[in-house]
């Protein structure tokens, strides 16, 4: 894994106050303990990778950050002030945009309507204030094209899109609306090579604009390509946070696998899956 990436990497300035700070978060579902005390923060202009085995609690954790779940214990500070987001809408209004792992799309609705769901552009005023469908269509097509997807049209139902097309809608939407923090839960999992590189490039771009990015991935190479800091979860607990350069790809991969042995693949996959 080469360190001399073409990417600019955000300087993790310890002095800059974090936008969101999560302290000792626990989350229980009935008798199931999904998070057993996780701390995490995200600063402006950095890409903080959240890594870990399947079922480690990454998605649960970021859902707590974006107001989907309320933590069972623990504290959330937003720009230094204690904050509890009752709904995802609250967190959005505070400037957090999220791509959820399940994408949060409505299959029966068109791409453009999904794109602007909850934040529809309007034209006219007073009683004639209405959903500006033309603008919505146009922006959707443009943003999708930027990510490398040429849709047949903005009115195709999301349910009939391919897996990668659908994921791209969710990412393009979050990027378009992400103001202060952008949370991406395995955004590249269904993407083609071209779309993946677009997304990584996009992460780099928004980071350089001062947005804090939380990036969840199982791909060590993707994480290392854009990450400034790496926090690894395992079985609902954090295994610690490392800065870029402080940790080798192999160490990282080892942590992500929860310390357990991998099947014999190292040879063919050159060290990292």
């Amino acid at each position: 894994m080469s360190e001399d990436s073409k990417f600019h990497h955000g300087e993790v300035k310890d002095s800059v106050p974090p936008i969101v700070q999560m302290k000792n978060i626990e989350k229980h579902f009935g008798n199931i303990i999904a998070l057993a005390g996780v701390s995490f923060d995200i600063r402006p202009g950095e890409c903080h990778c959240l890594l870990g085995d399947n079922g480690a609690g990454k998605s649960t954790f970021i859902k707590t950050m974006s107001g989907v779940h309320q933590p069972t214990h623990g504290e959330i500070l937003f720009e230094g002030k204690p904050m509890s987001f009752a709904t995802p809408r609250d967190s959005m209004e505070a400037g957090i945009a999220t791509v959820f792992q399940d994408l949060a799309m409505i299959p029966l609705m068109s791409v453009a309507r999904n794109f602007f769901m909850g934040r529809e552009p309007t034209k006219g005023r007073g009683l004639t204030k209405r959903f500006d469908v033309e603008q919505a269509n146009e922006i959707t097509m443009t943003e999708m094209r930027k990510m490398g997807i040429n849709l047949r049209g903005p009115d195709q139902a999301v349910g009939t899109l391919s897996g990668g097309e659908r994921q791209t809608v969710a990412i393009a939407r979050a990027v378009y609306f992400g103001a202060k923090v952008l949370i991406l839960d395995e955004p590249t999992s269904a993407l083609g090579v071209r779309q993946t590189s677009n997304v990584l490039a996009t992460i780099d771009k928004v980071r350089s604009q001062g947005v804090g990015v939380v990036f969840i991935s199982h791909n060590v190479r993707h994480a290392l390509a854009v990450g400034d800091r790496f926090t690894v979860l395992n079985r609902g607990k954090t295994l610690g946070t490392a800065k870029r350069g402080e940790i080798s790809p192999e160490e990282l991969q080892d942590l992500m696998a929860g310390g357990q042995e991998l099947a014999q693949l190292e040879g063919s996959l050159e060290g990292t899956v």
């Binding site: 809408r89 949060a104 299959p107 029966l108 769901m117 909850g118 934040r119 209405r130 049209g153």
Partner: protein, 369 residues
């Protein structure tokens, strides 16, 4: 092996599509095929009086009364919920309105807004219980089906001094300037002129068979247009589709799902109140069985018109045509020579055929499997 640069305007991955199949894909227009089928059926079997001006108005009146409810029900169904209490709500807000006018002697300008506010509150209660408890709206509004029906009975007995009928509303409102907006026929002059000109039929004694356009038909059309506009051209419309399509995904995308749903319950209740006001002034009375099973018929009309019971899909225009189909079938039998004993067989058969036909036409035209 590399590909030509994609060109959005002429994508090779799309076949040309005739206008008609583009239209038939819209849930709004699916129900038109059914309307045509039913019309043709009655043109063949029914007395020609059915499709004269008076005949059309005759079946459009119940269609309009049902349709106002059906459009409310359709909005709510698209938003992912049911309201089984709208039938009882017609009786209950009818009672409330009757009490305003007859017991408290309020003028319409006060009584009507009060009735709407009152009904909207009841709708909001429905909505709040559904939202707060997370129970299916089916069971919650079903409870209100019984509760409101029962309260109507108790209230009527109280208001009328022991009867289940409250009478005299027509006389009490006759001279109110607001009454013409909620009862009777609009444009009587125009229709009288039409009759004189021989453009519409008259009775032997020369009075026009149709004195005017019943106001409920105008309300029906207006509400269908407004609802369609809201659904397709406003942010709230988008929220309604999203809330019904997947409440979870919608919430996670920032749609205020709870507010949308509660508002829809209030709108549905107001539709019921409107029907109540119109029919109470028109009939001059209200009784404990008003609106009986209308919730059911409203849902039928919405479903005929293409709404999915699972939410997230449908249209107000579909409910509009669905109500017309239902109204035509219910009234149409009167104009045919069929034996009344067969009425239900006929009603069920026509509904089934109309819906199957809609569906078959849509599939054929759009090339769906």
């Amino acid at each position: 092996m590399s590909d030509s640069a994609p060109n959005f305007e002429a994508d090779e991955r799309i076949k040309a599509e005739p206008l008609i199949s583009r239209l038939m894909k819209r849930p709004e227009l699916g129900a038109i095929a059914g309307v045509l089928l039913v019309t043709i059926f009655f043109l063949i079997t029914a007395d020609s009086a059915m499709f004269t001006a008076s005949g059309i108005i005759n079946f459009m009146t119940p269609a309009a009364q049902l349709g106002i409810l059906a459009i409310g029900a359709a909005l709510l169904m698209i938003g992912g919920e049911f309201d089984l209490s709208i039938g009882s709500m017609v009786a209950f807000s009818g009672l409330f309105f009757g009490v305003c006018v007859m017991v408290w002697g309020l003028p319409l300008i006060v009584a009507i807004p009060l009735t709407f506010v009152f009904s909207a509150c009841v709708g909001a209660i429905n909505g709040f219980i559904v939202i707060r408890s997370g129970l299916p709206s089916f069971i919650v509004t079903l409870a209100f089906l019984f509760i409101l029906r029962g309260l109507s009975l108790v209230g009527l007995k109280w208001a009328s001094g022991g009867s289940t009928q409250l009478r005299g509303v027509r006389d009490a409102t006759e001279n109110d300037w607001l009454a013409p907006f909620f009862s009777g026929d609009a444009f009587p002059g125009f229709f009288a002129w039409l009759a004189e000109a021989g453009l519409i039929e008259t009775f032997q004694n020369g009075t026009p068979k149709v004195p005017g356009m019943p106001v409920e038909i105008l309300w029906f059309i207006a509400i269908a247009l407004v609802a369609t506009y809201v659904l397709l051209r406003t942010p709230i419309g988008n929220w309604i589709f999203a809330a019904g399509g997947d409440a979870n995904a919608a919430t996670n995308s920032g749609v205020p799902v709870r507010k949308v749903k509660v508002t829809l319950f209030m709108v549905t209740a107001c539709c019921a109140a409107l029907v109540a006001i119109i029919t109470v002034i028109d009939a001059g009375s209200t009784d404990a069985r008003r609106g009986f099973q209308k919730e059911f018929e409203a849902i039928i009309a919405a479903v005929i018109g293409g709404c999915l019971l699972t939410g997230g899909y449908g249209s107000a225009i579909g409910a509009f045509f669905g109500s017309i189909i239902f109204g035509m079938v219910v009234i149409g039998l009167t104009y045919t020579g069929f034996d009344q004993d067969w009425f239900q067989v006929f009603l069920g058969g026509m509904l089934l055929i109309a819906v199957l036909f809609n569906n078959a036409i849509r599939k054929r035209v759009t090339g769906e499997r």
